[in-house]
Amino acid sequence: MTDDQVVEVQAEPTPPRALPEQAVLRAIADEFEDIEWVLSSGQDVFMLPKERVRDVAQAANEAGFEMLADLTVTDYFRQRSPRFELVINLLSMQHRLRLRLRVPVPVDDVQVPSVVPVYPGANFYEREAFDLFGLIFEGHPDLTRILMPDEWEGHPLRKDFGMGSVPVQFKDSHQVQ
């Protein structure tokens, strides 16, 4: 190879954006540029930034996902950089489809738009996520603890919240007279 030969460096063509098969999901994905569709264990998942949660939920609701089946959080402590992941499971009865929204949430910025205005059934679930993981849902009508006592400190399902134990002293314990 001589120096005269100009090697054209071609920029690798960006792969076309993967889109889901079902028309319903495709319509939602088309509407938002920043949604990424992945297939996880054969189930449809949308990865999205947290600012878009309510917009995507609204679009999904209008596209026929009538019910919010589940809302929960995973804590990838020391495994991933945005530490938390908000997981919303939507259910469409008319299309017989499930859709999962996964939203990375960093630990130093736990504000997420609430989906209660779209799905009132998210009420208890967001309170649970707040209670056990400390995520703050903006626009939730009543973001209080639901399972733990009101005065509890910390968020127990975080990975850095220890299991804790109470030592049980069998020997020399208080004797009933």
């Binding site: 019910m67 589940d70 995973t74 017989r96 009132p120 009543d142 603890r145 639901i146 733990m148």
Partner: protein, 451 residues
């Protein structure tokens, strides 16, 4: 019954805003207390700064001092566990209510992160203690989804047999407690008596009446006991005539009808909005059943129908449960008759332990046995959500694996937790005497709610 228009008007007034939103805005503020009525609009009214005579002249309107907040539970015999309700009364009419939960919270999701995949069913079976097999099944299905394994047909048939029998026993308790709360005490005795027959079979097959830890990732723990056909035959012989008897007892009983018809109504639209599933959703007029929509464990090979109600009241929920018992009994018969031969757990020795006899003969079997019970098996990295139809509704398991021997996250979507959100809707503008009937018809299990 006030009609729908009036109801909404009262809600709007209670919310203190002109926005006729969902009840969620008006019921909740603070974990332990209800919202104040002194919203800015109310304060302006009280200070006389706005003229709102027409609202104050409305006959439904009561001043704040005519409203009374009473507390019901957590130690109340009709709340099916440690459910606590704050109820705001205007005279005898419930205006708002708020379920307060968490009294049975034992951190089972946290515990689940500390148990191996094989120990998981021991934990989850204690959530919904009236339908333990369903909890074990949904957990095992989610683990198998992550593992990507298939099961021998006999394992799946045993799982279906057990879960459908469990549906019968759970609905029998629902009928029994529903009867007891309304005053039909004989129904309570009958329901528990018949459930005992099914529990006796469970005890024979699994060793325990409840919390069986029988369905595990990779199959079931043991084969059906010798003579199981006769036991099933006995159950199928005894329960249907009894069920017919209970139909005579309650179906057209005027007292029962008076206590349940048009009581605790929830519409289909409200069910969808508040994530209410199961018999409550079907009583409201939807034929949504996960056994039909997303079949699991080969249930699509059997014939059954999905009973649907019309009005969404307590009576329809009672009817749906009774019909589901009949359908499940028919399913049990079909499954028992077509029970295939073969293995009851997968042949994959990395997941299911070898038979006891093999351990004495084979070094490898001993190693597999040792590895499974000390370290556990590893599940590939990934996450999956699997849901089945439990007697209370959609029971889901969301599992996340980081490739280790324990789950990174184990979350159960329990139906009672979501169904409780529909309770304030059902109870709004109804009589306080109907509260217990409404709670019983929802059939919440507080272990399932609080986990």
């Amino acid at each position: 019954m006030t009609d729908q228009k009036d109801k909404r008007k009262v809600d709007v007034w209670l919310t203190g805003t002109e926005d006729p939103g969902w009840l969620v805005d008006s019921t909740d503020e603070g974990a332990q207390k209800m919202a104040q009525h002194e919203t800015s609009t109310r304060l302006l009214d009280q200070e006389g700064l706005t003229i709102t005579d027409d609202r104050l002249l409305h006959e439904d309107v009561a001043a704040d001092d005519e409203l009374m907040i009473i507390n019901m539970g957590p130690q109340h015999p009709s709340t099916h566990g440690v459910l606590r309700l704050n109820i705001e009364l205007e005279g005898e009419i419930i205006r708002r209510s708020k379920p307060i939960i968490g009294y049975l919270h034992t951190g089972m999701e946290k515990t689940g992160e500390d148990l191996t995949w094989l120990q998981g069913p021991t934990n989850v079976t204690r959530m919904d203690y009236l339908a333990p097999f369903h909890n074990e099944l949904v957990y095992s299905l989610a683990v198998e989804k992550l593992l990507g394994i298939d099961l021998p047909p006999r394992a799946e048939a045993i799982r279906l047999l057990m879960t459908e029998l469990n549906r019968v026993s759970s609905h029998l308790v629902a009928l029994a407690t529903n009867g007891m709360d309304i005053g039909a005490l004989s129904m309570m005795l009958y329901g528990f008596r018949d459930r005992e027959r099914i529990l006796a079979f469970f005890e024979k097959a699994t060793g325990l009446r409840m919390n069986h830890n029988y369905i595990r990732p990779g199959g079931v723990a043991a084969d059906l006991p010798p003579g199981w056909q006769e036991d099933i035959e006995f159950i199928l012989e005894k329960i249907p005539p009894r069920m017919a008897e209970y139909e005579d007892l309650l179906k057209a009983n005027p007292i029962w009808l008076g206590r349940t018809r048009d009581v605790g109504v929830i519409t289909l639209e409200e069910c969808l909005a508040y994530s209410v599933t199961g018999p409550t959703l079907r009583a409201a007029g939807s034929d949504w059943d996960l056994r039909k929509a997303f079949p699991y464990s080969g249930i699509e090979n059997f014939q059954f129908e999905v009973p649907v109600g019309e009005r969404g009241d307590v009576y329809d929920r009672y009817r749906v449960r009774v019909e589901e018992i009949w359908q499940s009994l028919s399913l049990v018969r079909q499954i028992a008759e077509s029970m295939p031969d073969g293995d009851y757990k997968t042949e994959d020795r990395k997941i299911a332990p070898p038979p006891r006899a093999r351990i004495d003969e084979s070094m490898e079997a001993l190693i597999h046995h040792f590895k499974i019970y000390t370290e556990g098996f590893q599940v590939p990295e990934g996450e999956a959500y699997v849901a089945i139809e439990s007697p209370r509704g959609e029971l889901g398991a969301y599992l996340v694996s980081d490739g280790g021997a324990k789950p990174l996250r184990m979350h159960m979507r329990t139906p009672s937790f979501a169904n409780l959100q529909g309770l304030p809707v059902m109870m709004a503008d109804s009589l306080i005497a109907d509260t217990v009937a409404t709670i019983a018809s929802l059939d919440p299990v507080l272990g399932d709610v609080d986990r």
